[in-house]
Amino acid sequence: MTAALRFDPIRLPAECEQLRKEVRAFLAEEIAAGTFDPHQPNREDTDAPEFSRKVGARGWLGMTWPKKYGGHERSFLERYVVTEEMRVANAPTRRFFVADRQSGPVLLKYAPENIKMDILPRICRGEVCFAIGMSEPNSGSDLFAAKTRATKTDGGYLINGTKIWTSSAHIADYMIAIFRTSPPTKENRRHGLTQFLVKMKQPGIQVNPIGQITGQFEFNEVVFTDHFLPDDHVLGEVDGAWKQATSELAYERSGPERFLETYYVLTELVRAVGKNPDTRSAEGIGRLVAQVHTMRRMSVSVAGMLQAGKEPVVEASIVKDIGTVWEQQLPHRVRDLAAFVEETATNRETLEHQLSFAIKTAPKLTIQGGTTEVLRGIIARGLGLR
């Protein structure tokens, strides 16, 4: 039988439920204080440095990391609870989200001690924002076609080239990027790329905002011109970034953000249909709830695998594939059902406003962080097809 596909039913331990209560109470306080509006996913100001510091002060950043770096040595399942509660509340997590999920774990694994001691505690305090420098104008899904060069010079490297679609680069303090240090070899076209830590807001780095169809400016073009990076900013093996990518992907692809991005329209639909929906609305809502429940159980299961020290790359790819396809369809299915909502529903305007934003957001969901096509290629490899 196909050994790869196991999604054991993980039950969240008791400490998670206590934590969940704390997170909900904190978010309710912040909403009451006007920090953010849970009904408005399209906030103009997505950067919330003060909120970020408060989350850090609560001990909810770097939750799984060692205490010596400011972490809290808690479980992936506890981190999962914090992440999903923030996501469902539409909390402004942009400033810390990438650092906490992805960049911190990369630094933990590959950065020299002095850098770890410098940066990781600041991530845990919610003080620093990270961006990920992967895509380039002619290298998106085909990561190993990256051309931005890191040329060896005295004591470090000079960086020249352009990264693109870089989320949050305009507010980021750091970027973890891959640059070309050698040409690919005949035997291995993935050879020759190296992972680097880049300090942003420095000479030789220009960030140009790119407008998105939602009206937001969250991604950017980042141009490097003779930007100097010292030797100790190399993360891991020179020319060997391809060996380091896999475990990162399991973190990046299986979290609650991979199926809850448009979830708010479902909540609002339930509010709009009221306590006694007609058969059509009830059936539509039931099917959508069955999906979100299943996605969550799969996603929690992957968090359990991460906690057990596994690298569930195929399982994580499956979660992101079906999770993002679903969250992309969700606003359209809600729109189908909303067509028959009573004119008198008190939240009609909120629902229409949210639907309009979610429908505009939808196309990106199956592109960012690994396209559906790339994911299906990974799954196919896991099935032994390539």
């Binding site: 969240l12 306590k275 059936e283 099917r287 429940h293 099935l383």
Partner: protein, 355 residues
């Protein structure tokens, strides 16, 4: 539910591998495989997994029994194993001992009702009862004039049974009770009713569908690595790879939903909204996966998979048929939607995030 830790599931797996090989069954037009298989299952105590030793069963846990059903789904087993297990479980709710031999349960649809008459006999009609024609006894859930629930053991011979066939060619019969005298009848425990029976049956079917999808994935992957077209294995075509990746996703989703619901049932201390969500969602999601997954499995196989000689239909048609038993996905979606709406918008997430 880890099957490698589970001796009961391992036993089932071994029996099916020896006596329920899909190719052999598919070639056997006369059903000669059935009796030895049932004999072996009975000797291993599997049909009465969920019946305590004091009631004549083997006293396995709910979790162990559920894992047997996953295995049964992978082999698309066409004997009343799940049905006898469910019947034994239902009878055990009222501490009624299970007899030997094949059993089934009635009703098997949320729309049908059986009544207890004033003289203690049973009347009513249950449609789509799986394997009623093969059963020696039927475990019946019925309500009296006051609405109290009763559980009864009825000899199949006391009922009128009209044979029907489901999509997979298995018996799906109409059982009519006309003042039928039960062998035993006892009150159901407080709070037990038709919804619980339907959801338990639905979880069983969800596990079977998920198991069938696992097998469809396995045989589809194998076939794509053998079949050559345009001078290469079809597994090398990206379009085929992506279809199989989607089938893997549907199989994984069904497996996750079904095993989660089974785990919820196995560890439940009360019947509440959280358990309802688990079981209803599993049936809805597994039914949807059956449609999408079996469609892809057939597409990958091309014409050969559409032949009666090929084993694919044993899995695909059963997975599709099982959608109908114990409440279809449409039924449970309406019920789940109503429950969610009644709780209110702000109680949706707490329900979803309850475990």
């Amino acid at each position: 539910m880890a099957e490698s830790d589970n001796i009961v599931a391992e036993t089932a797996e071994k029996i099916f591998a020896d006596l329920a090989d899909a190719q052999t069954i598919n070639r056997d037009g006369k059903g000669a495989w059935k009796a030895p298989l049932w004999q072996a299952l009975t000797e291993a105590g599997l049909p009465l997994s969920w019946v305590g030793e004091e009631c004549g069963g083997s006293g396995a846990s709910l979790a162990e029994g559920f894992s047997v059903l996953s295995v049964a789904g992978r082999f698309a087993v066409a004997v009343p194993l799940a049905e006898t297990m469910l019947a034994g479980w239902l009878l055990a709710q009222a501490k009624i001992s299970s007899p030997d031999g094949e059993m089934t349960v009635a009703p098997a649809s949320p729309r049908d009702r059986i009544s207890v008459n004033a003289d203690g006999t049973l009347s009513g009609k249950a449609r789509g009862v799986p394997f009623a024609k093969s059963a020696r006894h039927i475990a019946v859930l019925a309500s009296d004039a006051k609405g109290s629930q009763h559980i009864a053991l009825v000899e199949a011979g006391k009922c009128r049974i009209e044979t029907g066939l489901n999509l997979g060619g298995d018996q799906s019969d109409t059982v009519t009770l006309d003042k039928a005298q039960p062998a035993t009848i006892k009150p159901a425990p407080f709070g037990f009713g038709q919804t619980q029976l339907m959801l338990m049956g639905g979880v069983a079917r969800s596990l079977q569908i998920a198991g069938a999808l696992e097998s469809m994935l396995e045989i589809s992957v194998r076939y794509s690595n053998e079949r050559v077209a345009f001078e290469k294995k079809i597994s090398k075509f990206q379009a085929v790879q992506h279809n199989l990746a989607r089938l893997a996703g549907e199989s994984a989703a069904a497996l996750a939903a079904a095993t989660s619901a089974a785990d919820a049932f196995a560890n439940a201390t009360a019947f509440n909204d959280e358990l309802f969500l688990e079981a209803a969602a599993a049936k809805i999601r597994c039914a949807e996966a059956a449609e999408k997954g079996s469609g892809i499995a057939h597409q990958v196989h091309g014409a050969i998979g559409f032949t009666i000689e090929h084993i694919l239909h044993r899995y695909s048609l059963r997975a599709l048929a099982w959608r109908d038993d114990f409440g279809s996905e449409s039924h449970w979606a309406v019920e789940l939607g109503r429950l969610v709406a009644a709780r209110g918008a702000d109680e949706l997430w707490p329900l979803v995030a309850s475990r």
